[in-house]
Amino acid sequence: MSLIGLSCRIFQIGKQSKIKWPCSHLSSCLQQRLCSTTSEIPKLQHGTSLPTIIDFPSFQTRSIQAPREALVETLYDEDSVGLVSLNPEVFGQLPLLHVMHDNIKWQTQYKHINYNHALSRHECRGGGRKPWPQKGLGKARHGSRRSPLFLKGGVAHGPRRYTTKFYMLAYGNRVLGLTSALSAKFAQDDLKVVRSLDVASSAPEPLLELLEQRLWGPSVLFVHTDDIMPEKICKATETIGHINLMPVYGLNVYSMLKHDTLVLTVPALRLLEERLMHAIYNTAGAHLHSPTQLL
């Protein structure tokens, strides 16, 4: 089946391959498709063209929902390249805010070690001598100058050194946090898909200009499959603090919510879907809470 034929079948319209389709109209169409059933036919203006569909795989999911669709853009050109379908179990999940909150709490706390340490009355210097006799002075009885009642005395029930906040969030909650965050990002139109991370120049200004023009950001997180990224975007984002690059294996709930816009490349998107679907359906790892089982 040819690409044009496939696109026609999906949009259930006739041959309109020469029609131009502006971006703004497409997004409204997408919005309509997200909120409506698939039987409705999006209204197309005469003179608009369909973008090339670049990736529409068949998902094996339990979900009865239709796959989501996202526009594929590039970082060097203004025109959009095409459409990709997104797995509804990863990008159309119920956004559970409390699970996302649990994830963020866990991410901030598990590496925290409290170094606060207060000296007890026995660890303080001195205080061995009875300050005054037990009886006969009309004063309260005391046995040590370093009692918690005294100024410069020891602390009762104070913080002790090296208390860790480490704990492991349940495996299922970690998976659910990721799918919730991705779904929320996508629902809020903060998840963008690009074909690759190739940019026109390695200077930071054009990239900033591009992001501002597209209303992405100001903080943007680019996600790629590996930790070896294209050279130009590395150089362009090197000096910008609020634009960051990340591999798929490092993607986490905290970073997703910290950045305004999440930008995924198409291979990264597919890898992410594969990993998360494996995590959702892998019954062997469902009960694992061990620190080594980080997705």
Partner: protein
Amino acid sequence: MSSSHGTVKALQMLRRLPRIKLNNLISIPGSTKKSQRGRGIHGGKDHGWGTKGPKHHNRHVPAGYEGGEMTPYFLRYPVQKWAKERYDISYVPLTLQSLQLMVDTGRLDVSVPIDVTQLYNTGLLRIDSRLEHGGVMLEEKGMDCFCTPMNLEVQYASEAAIAAVEKAGGTITTAYYDPYSLTAALKPVEFFKKGQVIPRRFLPPQRHIEYYSDPRNRGYLADPALIEEQRLLLSQKYGYVLPDLEKSLMKELLFQRKDPRQVFYGLEPGWIVNLADKVILKPTDPQLKEYYSS
């Protein structure tokens, strides 16, 4: 996972709501409770530590303390290096020096495969499965004077001991015996006199499976081809020429192996040995045969 209408509705609502960020994300109200120590003269009387006793005074009983009368378990018994748990089986040590001495003094006949039965019948080892002994452990002491080629089967062997046995032109296997099979293997005559069925040797417990299926340990569950490879590697590590077993005069003896379910050479599990009538009784019931088959 969920595919309800509520999901679609929630996602639609999110489109109109402010962007979810770190600063506006909250958990379900009332889901977390802040624990604070009670303050004041009466409000925080014991601060959650209870009234009286070791916990109240922050005086916890040390781990492993069994009361003043007893020496703690961890001081009474040593941990052995092969033990995965403290309550694991232990092995009776047997040095290569004493093994050589047994051969030299005629206590061991090396013309037959040597297993735990042969070693126990020298009368020099005290193996008791009631003391949680799992068999014999071969140690490398006296490895320089060991020179007898033999087909040896022990329960645990150090790497150097394996090298010494193989350098002398012999073969070594490590094999597991469950307590009941070990009892039978140690005193076969007493066992046969009771009229009991020769047991089916159990496979090792989960924590010992790894050891006995490792070709480096010459485990009885390991692949023979891999063992042959490891023999060569070990000879290169210790720097000796590996004797060619194919050309050995004792080739038939050296390649004799027990089945993993077998306790005695020549006798299969499920048989009954009648010493009085000198008869061996074999099971005929197909169910029994299936149970005792390897």
